[in-house]
């Protein structure tokens, strides 16, 4: 089984090298004349106000949170789905129960207004 992974283990570093080579090449070939205006933060020519690390609203975190829960749910469901063909009906229904419990969570988040973009 391990030999099936070899190709992926090769392709991922190659996927790193292939874009990195042109970027390095560009760093060698391209002109390099830095000045302070060129390197300043780009905000359409408007002066930058305040620091970069402004506070973001918590909504982003809520979306990531719901995503995490559903991602883990999918992790539990994938082996279940892979074994589907050899399962009797009651085992399928256990998986369905698992989905329904989490669907309740989605409904709760919806009712609570956590999924609204404000």
């Amino acid at each position: 089984m391990l030999d099936q992974w070899i190709f992926a283990a090769f392709l991922l570093p190659i996927g790193l090298v292939i874009p990195a080579v042109p970027i390095l090449l560009a760093a060698l070939l391209s002109p390099h004349k830095p000045n302070s205006i060129k390197q300043s933060t780009y905000e359409c020519g408007v002066e930058t106000v305040g620091e970069t690390w402004v506070q973001f609203k918590v909504q982003y975190y809520i979306f990531a949170l719901v995503f995490v829960v559903f991602d883990v749910e999918a992790v539990f469901l994938f082996p279940w789905a892979a074994a589907y063909n050899m399962m009797p009906l009651y085992m399928v229904l256990e998986g369905v129960l698992f989905i329904l419990i989490l669907a309740a969570g989605l409904i709760y988040a919806w009712r609570k207004g956590a999924l609204e973009w404000v």
């Binding site: 089984m1 391990l2 099936q4 992974w5 283990a9 620091e51 690390w53 402004v54 506070q55 973001f56 609203k57 918590v58 982003y60 975190y61 809520i62 990531a64 949170l65 719901v66 995503f67 995490v68 829960v69 991602d71 883990v72 749910e73 992790v75 539990f76 994938f78 082996p79 279940w80 789905a81 892979a82 074994a83 589907y84 050899m86 399962m87 085992m91 256990e94 998986g95 129960l97 698992f98 419990i101 989490l102 309740a104 969570g105 709760y108 988040a109 609570k112 207004g113 956590a114 404000v118």
Partner: protein, 179 residues
Amino acid sequence: MTVLQLIFLLTAATTLASGMMVVASPNLVHAALWLIMALAGVTVFFVLLEAGFLAVVQVAVYIGAIAILIIFAVMLTRHVAADSQSQVTRGWWLAALASLLLFGGLLAMLTQIPTLTAGAPVLPGNPDDIVRDLGQSLVSLDQYVLPFETASVLLLAALIGAIVIALPPKAAGAEGGEP
């Protein structure tokens, strides 16, 4: 088989170094990125242990979800000034001592046991069957169906709890103006 050992040692060194950087880096975003590096190292170990399912799950859940959550939390609670403050508690040397003692004890114990030097047995059945067996054992009544459904309830509780805690009270509404 020495190639595998080499891969193991390289990955172990990278992972441990990344782990060190996680606990040592003063910049929390850097610490989170090093954490991702360490998690990727653990993925390689899962592949070496022929637990391919856990390897991809490690990337999907840890790097794709939990690490993103941690980075979001860092950005949401960030103080620029905090980077220059001391990052460790006053009793950090006690913590270091405790960790070193624990590691020393574990090392002494693990090197004492002679049976641990044996190689891995051959896996029974073909790899596709392992995932299927896993799926079947998760829902068969005499095996792990109870932990399986409990995990669902745990995730539901975590979802509800985290939303209740993180969602700002409606009346405040102060956050509406922020980006």
